[in-house]
């Protein structure tokens, strides 16, 4: 990888989430009032409007909701072809990610995947996903 990935620094709300990545833990946010689970971390529950939210650990497992093989990279950090995907976690929330550890041709919708981690230059880790052994 010739250049680091384009990524913004954490802010006050997201810093605890990013700190958990340093220990290889993928977190999601859970509402203390209505138990709604959401991602990315934010200052309000999108289900009930409450502001008392806590991070809980995700299993790191999910399925691919959809994906695209990018053939022309917009940034020198990644070499095309690579897979951009929306993964639906077991806990419910979806996140954008890259699917790695397999040929782009072998990626499918509804494929089971598990989190894999990539080190970032500042010590944070970025959650990627890889097809799960069945």
């Amino acid at each position: 990888m010739s250049e680091p990935r384009p990524i913004a620094p954490p802010d006050a709300v997201t810093e605890p989430w990013w700190n958990a990545t340093r220990e290889g833990r993928l977190m999601v946010q859970r509402c203390a009032t209505c138990s709604h689970v959401q991602h990315y971390p934010r200052g309000i529950c999108t289900a009930c409007g409450a502001r008392d939210l806590a991070l809980v650990e995700s299993s790191g497992c999910g399925t691919i909701y959809s994906y695209s093989v990018v053939r022309r990279a917009p940034h020198p950090a990644l070499e095309a072809p690579y897979v951009v995907a929306i993964v639906q976690l077991e806990e419910g929330p979806r996140l954008l990610t890259n699917v790695v550890g397999c040929s782009p041709e072998d990626v499918r919708c509804e494929q089971p995947v598990a989190v894999a981690w990539e080190d970032l230059p500042d010590g944070r880790r970025l959650p990627l996903f890889t097809p799960q052994e069945s």
């Binding site: 990935r5 384009p6 093989v69 990018v70 917009p74 951009v84 929306i86 919708c109 509804e110």
Partner: protein, 382 residues
């Protein structure tokens, strides 16, 4: 009581394609053209609706034109902004906040080479932390994921997506100002053989990148009685805004267009079967399939087969994007105003070789961002 029913009195395009001109100069050209078409003057304008010029777009354009609007909107909602503006101007006219509303847009992105494949993400947004690191093409990869999901759920094929681009080209060959006018027909094989950009979308599944602009002048039905062109009424409108990021879209194959369309039909007292000609945003071929379903022109999952066999091409039984659309006519970044311009011309019977005979009701639908913003406007002859 004066009839304050909002109507469209004038429309115009600016120069299109590769102009080497400024955004404001292109806007001025479109504004002058639309006012001339309406039989009104700049001094008559007291409402201004524009965006994507600068941080203070309304102030920028008001000053450039030398007007002082008493009603305005500069909402930036990408491709649906201008369907929203027609709706918001209609409300302002009905409520008496303005008498003559000017809606204008221009962009010189092709000349200025201001477009990037990664899109522009503000550093303070969640996307900058949680989506940009994965280097999606923005917006292409999101629409590609919508296409992939549509294929997964419904068996839609790349050939069916290509039919949308093939039909758009056929319409553009009947529009002398279209960017691809005179460039010959497209085939499904041409589309499938073009460069794959973000699987399953090829280069020819994606809209053009051109300069261009347009303007729409609206006023009251009462005032329009004294104007030269036949007025076009705003019969109904609706909108829905669903997401900013890629992972936050509730359903990639059933978008906010369903909410927008349902509201517009209810307000107009009409349904999909009443629409004589449709102008729906074709940022990508898949955008059209999701819109056809969400707007009720076919059942969910059936848009792929709906567009087969030339149904949406000239001579087909569902005339759509008769200008040639963003795929083959022009796409100056935010195409929504040109959907309205073409709809009005169709209703007035001004479209020459591409005229849909007897069109009395037209539907315009804008889709902005990454399936983020959705706005429908239904217009009809006064």
């Amino acid at each position: 009581m004066a009839d304050r029913t909002p109507v469209i009195a004038g429309v115009a395009e600016s120069a299109l394609g590769i102009t080497n001109r400024t955004i404001l100069d292109l806007q001025a050209e479109a504004v002058a053209g639309a006012l001339d078409d309406a039989g009104l003057a700049l001094r008559d304008v007291d409402g201004l609706f524009t965006t994507a010029v600068s941080r203070f777009s309304v102030a920028q354009v008001a000053e450039y034109l030398g007007i002082v609007p008493t009603s305005s909107d500069g909402t930036m909602a990408g491709g649906s902004s201008y369907e929203m503006f027609v709706a918001h101007a209609a409300e302002a006219i009905r409520a008496g906040h303005c008498e003559v509303a000017l809606i204008s847009y221009a962009n010189n992105q092709r000349s200025a080479k201001s477009r990037t494949f990664g899109g522009v993400i503000d550093e303070h947004t969640p996307e900058a932390q949680f989506e940009q690191p994965y280097a999606p093409l923005n917006p292409i990869s999101l629409y590609a994921m919508a296409a992939r999901r549509h294929m997964h759920e419904f068996g839609t094929t790349s050939e069916q997506l290509a039919e949308v681009a093939v039909a758009a080209r056929a319409w553009a060959l009947r529009n002398p100002v279209a960017f691809r006018y005179g460039k010959g027909p497209l085939t499904v094989e041409d589309v499938l053989g073009s460069e794959m950009i973000s699987d399953p979308l090829h280069a020819l599944d994606c809209c053009l990148i051109t300069d261009g602009g347009g303007a729409v002048v609206m006023t009251t039905a009462e005032r329009a009685r004294h104007l030269p062109k036949r007025a076009v009424r705003v019969l109904g409108h609706g909108e829905a805004t669903t997401n900013q990021g890629m992972a936050s879209i509730p359903d990639l194959t059933d978008t906010g267009a369903r909410v927008a369309g349902t509201r517009a039909y209810a307000m107009a007292g009409l349904g999909p079967g009443d629409v004589d000609v449709a102008q729906v945003y074709d940022s990508f071929t898949i955008t059209v399939l999701t819109e056809l379903e969400a707007l009720g022109f076919c059942e969910r999952g059936e848009a792929g087969s709906f567009v087969e066999g030339g149904r949406i091409a000239p001579g087909g039984d569902f005339p759509m994007n008769t200008s040639g659309g963003g795929l083959s006519y022009c796409h100056p970044g935010v195409f929504g105003i040109l959907l309205v311009v073409e709809a009005v011309r169709q209703l007035r019977g001004e479209c020459g070789e591409r005229q849909v005979p007897g069109a009395e009701v037209a539907l315009c639908h804008g889709t902005g961002g990454i399936l983020s913003t959705h706005a429908t406007v239904i217009v009809g002859l006064d």
